[in-house]
Symmetry: C2
Subunit: 320 residues, 2 copies
């Protein structure tokens, strides 16, 4: 059921890209700007946005531009993050800075950033609702920057706590899911209580999503991930899995070792599995999703609500 | 007179920074974000914004946050531009990426970007006016990216025309001055015709400002500029001066030569002066400012209008 819904909304978003991100002048900038946006991804954030709008009785057709604005913000952050991480692949394609260069990739991210606000601004809804949505979006973008700054700081630290990690992923990933759900609701005229509940739903399931992403980075395949498997490990990222492993004295030879061999990676993965670090992360992700789902208790039972609950599960049971 | 006004508005803006850009968590991000913003600059864009608001009968006190949003956008573009240009100095201080690193400087720019929209969103005015202002700001930010992309493209080209250069500086510099004036007016409830006139005023004087900036880059001093004199020349920037020089067959040995000596720079400057390239740029700047000032004909004669006309002259007669 949820697969069908995701597919349906993804088609709406892909169509909207042509309308709201046309190839303008200078063409090179817009071609580069569409490279990653068109490469797809699952469009889970706009899907959550549109389901929340549906649950709040909003008109989906008039809100596609606003849902796209979330996807554009997401893509801008990926492009800038890939520069910072020297990441070569994203969604199975070369990253923007690998093709066009770093300066150009900075600009492409900046362009998607303002296009997100332009696109949101074109949404045909009551002015006061639109202001609220714009304020959510700008606050969220700041929060993402704060989370990414923490992530960068973690690179030089050996004592990152689980609590700090949780704050980091809340800012870096949670709030954008929170914004997706709460903007969808607020633009549909939902009550404050309703909007708060949806923000909580998005934020906690988004954190679960991020932890599951960390798990997939180790347990999935390079082709399914669209980027190198084990990337976080060899980059020395302080994920929840690594924080758990360190606390339990696991010796991971590939940690922070960019030229680690495939065999080393497999051995490290075995250690993490036997040491319980991966199961621990899985459990935490499940708890967060449970907490997020509970926040939907205030909603009346509708098909949209059922789909949102399914989406929450999908976020941590997906294979890639 | 205009000096006093600039000083007065600069103080308002500097105060507003404490309110709207507080040192939040993570502290490092906010310290880095305030580095350039606090270094000052002349605050000409918010000055133009507040004069336009005054001319339109707006309440200055309620619009300081909106004026600051323009300054934050300006600072974000400087920080990202300095990364792209490998610029070491800005406003007499080390550039953000030189102190904190490139990844961090990307994030600092991104943070100021969203803070600009947050700050604008806090402005206490009628919702429909605020939406219009937000739409101007996002459209303008996109345009700046387009201009900067063109500027990057020019680096690899030998055949940049004067017309292309004009389009580039209109996007990169002109539109933000246009936004300053038109946002100030629109938030004060001015008519569409009034707002259009102010946009034109800002856009053309802003282009004059940019050409004058190119002139100062060659004719001022490193200490007055707060960055290395002749930087554009040795970086091989295709400014109007260089386009004129090329057209008239001047041979500039320091062009694009990063290790050019001081003597070489002086000799090149002499060539540009004798060849008429600098005078040509000065004349073009004057013409643009004249055209911008003419757009204010629709305004009633007020003290604010007189100051705006003075500001336009200041933009191309300032010494640094």
């Amino acid at each position: 059921m949820i697969d069908k819904a995701i597919e349906k909304y993804a088609i709406l978003i892909t169509k909207a890209i042509d309308t709201y991100l046309p190839i303008d002048y200078p063409e090179g900038l817009y071609e580069a700007s569409r490279h990653l946006v068109e490469a797809g991804g699952k469009r889970l954030r706009p899907t959550m946005f549109l389901l929340a709008a549906d649950a709040a009785g909003g008109k989906i057709e008039t809100l596609v531009s606003a849902a796209l604005s979330i996807e554009l913000i997401h893509n801008f952050t990926l492009i800038h993050d890939d520069i910072m991480d020297n990441a070569e692949l994203r969604r199975g394609k070369k990253s923007v800075h690998m093709i066009w260069g770093t300066s150009e990739a900075i600009l492409v991210g900046d362009t998607l950033y303002s296009k997100a606000f332009q696109t949101l601004g074109m949404t045909q809804v009551e002015a006061s609702r639109l202001i609220t949505a714009m304020n959510i979006l700008s606050r969220t973008a700041t929060s993402i920057c704060e989370g990414q700054w923490m992530d960068l700081e973690f690179e030089d630290r050996d004592d990152v706590s689980e609590k700090e990690y949780m704050t980091m992923i809340e800012k870096k990933t949670g709030v954008l899911y929170g914004a997706s759900a709460s903007m969808g609701a607020t633009l549909s005229g939902a009550s404050e209580e309703f909007v708060r509940g949806l923000d909580e739903f998005g934020r906690f399931t988004g954190m679960g999503f991020q932890i599951h992403d960390d798990v997939l980075d180790l347990t999935s395949t390079t082709s399914a991930l669209g980027k190198r498997r084990g990337g976080d490990l060899i980059e020395g990222k302080k994920t929840l899995i690594m924080i758990h492993a360190k606390k339990h004295g696991l010796k991971l030879s590939a940690f922070g070792k960019k030229d680690a061999t495939q065999q080393e990676l497999e051995e490290n993965l075995g250690l993490l599995q036997n040491g319980g670090s991966i199961d621990y992360a899985r459990e935490r992700a499940e708890m967060l999703v449970k907490r997020g789902k509970r926040a939907l208790d205030i909603l009346p039972d509708t098909q949209a609500k059922t789909l949102m609950l399914d989406l929450a599960d999908y976020m941590i049971y997906r294979k890639y």
